[in-house]
Symmetry: none
Subunit: 139 residues, 2 copies
DNA sequence: AGTATTTTTGCAAATTTGTCGCAATTTTTG
DNA sequence: CAAAAATTGCGACAAATTTGCAAAAATACT
């Protein structure tokens, strides 16, 4: 078991939850790094749809996964606890999602901006929408 | 007809689409500046749900409206083409949404970042999630 | 303006997405 | 290993979104 898997198990235990097969397999699946929709997850794993929903809800509450809002669909990916902070480019036409690797300058701006208000920031997500290489000449 | 309405008509024409009543009224409705959900739109206009969905999809592809993610719901508002660019702070606890006024430094970072790829950016949205002043001492 | 052509809309039905209670199964406790 | 606790699968629902197609509206062309 690698470091991430150990930390994952620890989070579940500490919060009084069981380490079950569906939870282990979902965590492993998301370990690929790709943001996935519920449907993609359901077809990749041999578990009931409702189990997937319940597991995702739990993972969100424990901070293991985050929901990212991409296009019309919601997708899920591991939180910054398990992978590098990043944002997304989404294609307006075909829906494809490309990760955008972390940028210091950007993160500084966001941190700076948040700190100015009496609002207490917890996290943030940036979506840059546009046309991917393949879809650029369709509109 | 004001400047916005003319530009709107021009965008439709140029892309080979008709200027119809449902389209005109949806554009006008969103002109209020408030981000609206599909349900709010459907009850405000005398057109079929599927028409609203199809119109919103078209408007998105033409860059007339953008989908904004406020908490767990998606809403729609006019794009930067028709109203001032802004981002949102959303309260994790009470769901309140606060507009965040434009910040040069942030926008520069984003512009710089977008231009590096073969992806063609159209717009972007940033959601900063956290706790508003009233909800800060509840957790 | 009037008609042919093209595009869009409404309607009904299908599909997809998300929720819930409860009995059966799995995990944890000790 | 047995008892207790937590989790899962199933089925029934409810809500959200998509689709095919005939009717209606918009546009193009005399």
């Amino acid at each position: 078991m690698n470091r991430e898997a150990i930390q994952f198990a620890k989070i579940l235990k500490k919060s009084g939850h069981s380490l079950t097969d569906p939870r282990k397999r979902l965590f492993k699946l998301l370990g690929s790094g790709k943001a996935m929709s519920v449907n993609e997850i359901v077809s990749a794993l041999p578990y009931d749809r409702s189990t997937i929903y319940r597991t995702l809800e739990l993972f969100q509450k424990l901070g293991i996964v985050v929901e990212v809002h991409l296009g019309w669909k919601h997708k899920f990916e591991l939180s910054d606890m398990f992978q590098h902070h990043h944002h997304h480019l989404t294609c307006i036409n075909c829906g494809k999602v490309l990760p955008l690797k972390e940028d210091k300058e950007l993160e500084n701006s966001i941190a700076h901006l948040s700190s100015r208000s009496s609002f207490k920031p917890v996290d943030h997500q940036l979506e840059i929408r546009g046309f991917c290489m393949n879809c650029q000449n369709k509109y």
